[in-house]
Amino acid sequence: MRHTLVARVQDQPGVLHRIISLFRRRAFNVDSLTVGGSEEPGISRMTIVVETDRVPAYLVEANLRKLVPVIEVRDVTHISTVSRDLALIRVKCGATERSEINDLISIFRGKIVDVAADSVIVEVTGDVKKVDGLVDLLRPRGVLEMVRTGKVAMVRGAEAPDDSEEELAVGWRH
């Protein structure tokens, strides 16, 4: 399955390299990784989606914690979160089809942000599944280009206490 980890890391040279190197070396399978600013200067926030069929998510977490610039890691997969993915999608679209596309994407709260003679750029934000859904609908019309940010996530409401590492480490069947 896929696990979503949120990490707070020191914003310093090489920190992304360390994380990528760890994932490559341990053969952890990354689905998406986003990195950007956080509420605190000097601290970046990462949202990492990993495939955990081969290694338990706990081990990914425990290895990330060992990196010196990593301040905190949390597996939010089973916690209620707000999560978003943003996509820009260039769709083939003649002048006559624009309103049709507009109707379609408005259901997904998407919008047309650029218009050319034979295409439009659609912007959509939502959880990963919603964006997937819109992309599937647009594909038959001809998706010429697409970029997605990957998932970012934040825990809802008051933060629940973390499970201790010692509890997470127990009972993995190999």
Binding site: R18, P56, Y58, R65, V68, V70, I71, E166, A169, W172
Partner: protein, 570 residues
């Protein structure tokens, strides 16, 4: 505040960290640092012959003393030559700091002469590393490096310092405290966890302690012995755990794993409770994970959370310092005896004695295990032994019983041939009073043989036993067992090691018969001078028992029986 150059700050920081010895090799980009070194007479610099040697020396220094070992190299090839040594220290959790020169900060990334991205190269083989491009960051970075190397599960840290940083001046300020926001502070040990472990110990009828390097690293030997004795629990050790629990203790089963004692491995498979202390269930100790220790509950006490649940599923995990945990656990356990369990293991021990190569008649041949066992006898088991990698390393683990921590230094995780001689030089620098023996094969010894010059330049009284069988012995053994005796590239021609030693001004001896072993060892022990003994041993001897890689732990290849058990003295 005092203005100092980066080079001066480097040495000042090392002095304040308690460093008295560094191992290194100068070169262009580290020259400012070497120039300043002359003004810091409290630091003794050992000039090596190859930077890999410097890395292993720093490693040996750290393993024998528990202090941080330091190696210094220049940029480019100097730095890349350290890599094998850094990886060795990483795999075996050895606290080390590596200082490398780097091209000037303005030249970074330009493929300048002797530029190599050593921080990039060493990301996966260091605990942490840093590139210093501003002299104002230098003192803090060095302070952090020592803190990181020592703390938690120890390991290597590399600090790459640009040449212009070494030359630049700044106000020197020693950071009294280290602030690392991501540093893991060990939580207090939870009482309910300890109670759960105590309960498992109370219920167990066939308990077994698996003790690893963590016992030595956390200084837990006394607590381990108290626990084993109080609960009547036998102890088996990993290669790096040897010395953490005395081999002569009645509860000690010796080494586990691929070349471990058959009865120890069998006990693992039959146990109902495994207490894994400061070890990581490496593939060399578990064999096939699917059939590993199927009857037992497992408790894992380990400082590194990423090692828990990695290879073997556990029932209770305590991620903390081993000594702290064991000392807290002791008051919660009550006296127990496991006579039936120990008797069962004892049968296996008797059976093993009947196969022991010690009873093999040697006639006119010299057998490697005999040599190593005789070195043990002649040194009364009191030497610091630094072994290399291969058959002799396993024979050493089997036939040189260690009683105390930090008396066996060996490359366990990475299995680095060429480790022994330089690591022994580091060990002797840290403990000049100790009797230091190198035990190496003819293959591994040649990999770092150049360090004999370093040994002589430092006038070190180190004794070297080359177990010379004319083969890359362990690889040959695998070829014999698993590749139809097709000896591809394993016969090795060596120089006359006695002449090599003599050329360095060392005493040298050749031994070809068993009766000569002890007298020759005694002779070199009394000389007060460095010496090399070339032991010409039987070419095609194998290490038994052996669990083939990935096989079930109880499916061992055994040495053919030599005598009936009743004929063998206990």
């Amino acid at each position: 505040m005092k203005k100092m150059t980066g080079a001066q700050i480097l040495w000042e920081c090392l002095v304040r960290e308690g460093v008295t010895t560094v191992f290194g090799y100068p070169g262009g980009t580290i020259l400012p640092a070497y120039d300043a070194l002359l003004d810091f007479p409290s630091i003794h610099h050992v000039l090596v012959r190859h930077e890999q040697g410097a890395a292993h020396m720093a490693d040996g220094y750290a393993r024998v003393s528990g202090k941080v070992g330091v190696a210094v190299a220049t940029s480019g090839p100097g730095a890349t030559n350290l890599v094998t040594g850094i990886a060795t220290a990483m795999m075996d959790s050895v606290p080390t700091v590596f200082i490398t020169g780097q091209v000037g900060s303005k030249l970074l990334g330009s493929d300048a002469f002797q530029e190599a991205d050593i921080t990039g190269i060493t990301v996966p083989i260091t605990k942490h590393n840093s590139l210093v491009t501003d002299v104002k960051d230098l003192a803090r970075t060095l302070r952090e490096a020592f803190c990181i190397a020592r703390s938690g599960r120890p390991g290597p840290v590399l600090v790459d310092i640009c040449k212009d940083v070494q030359q630049a001046k700044t106000d020197f300020e020693w950071p009294e405290t280290v602030f690392l926001p991501g540093r893991k502070v060990l939580p207090p040990v939870k009482l309910e966890k300890l109670k759960a472990v105590a309960e498992l110990i109370a219920e167990a009828e066939r308990p077994l302690i698996l003790a690893g390097h963590g016992v030595i690293e956390s200084g837990a030997s006394a607590a381990l012995m108290a626990l084993a004795e109080r609960t009547g629990t036998p102890v088996t050790l990993t290669l790096l755990g040897l010395g953490g629990f005395p081999r002569s203790h009645p509860l000690c089963l010796g080494m586990m794993g691929m070349h471990g004692e058959a009865f120890a491995n069998k006990a693992i498979q039959e146990a109902d409770l495994l207490l894994a202390f400061g070890m990581r269930f490496d593939d060399r100790v578990t064999g096939n994970l699917k059939t590993y220790a199927p009857k037992s509950k497992k408790v894992h006490v380990e400082i590194d959370g990423s090692e828990v649940g990695k290879n073997v599923a556990v029932d209770v995990a305590i991620i903390n310092d081993l000594r702290t945990v064991l000392e807290a656990l002791l008051p919660l356990v009550s006296d127990k005896k496991h006579e039936a369990w120990l008797e069962e293991i004892g049968h296996g021990q008797g059976e093993t004695r009947s196969r022991d190569i010690q009873h093999e008649p040697h006639e006119d041949r010299l057998l490697a295990p005999h040599v190593i066992n005789d070195i043990w006898r002649a040194t009364s088991g009191g030497a610091v032994v630094v072994s290399d990698v291969g058959q002799h390393q396993m024979f050493e683990a089997q036939y040189y019983p260690h009683e105390k921590p930090r008396t066996l230094l060996t490359s366990g995780g990475l299995g680095t041939m060429g480790f022994a001689l330089p690591a022994a030089i580091g060990a002797k620098m840290a403990r000049p009073d100790a009797e230091v023996w190198v035990i190496a094969g003819d293959g591994g010894f040649q990999m770092t043989q150049a360090e004999l010059s370093t040994l002589m330049q430092e006038k070190l009284d180190i004794k070297i036993a080359v177990i010379n069988n004319g083969f890359l012995g362990m690889v040959r053994q695998w070829q014999e067992f698993f590749y139809d005796k097709r000896y591809a590239a394993t016969p090795i021609l060596s120089p006359d090691f006695t002449m090599i030693a003599a050329a360095h001004g060392m005493d040298a001896h050749r031994v070809t018969k068993r009766e000569e072993v002890i007298p020759t060892v005694q002779k070199v022990r009394g000389s007060g001078r460095p010496a090399l003994i070339d032991f010409r041993v039987v070419a095609e001897e194998s290490v038994y028992p052996m669990v083939p890689a990935g096989a079930d732990l109880h499916e061992m290849i055994r040495r053919p029986k030599r005598r009936h058990p009743s004929e063998v003295p206990a």
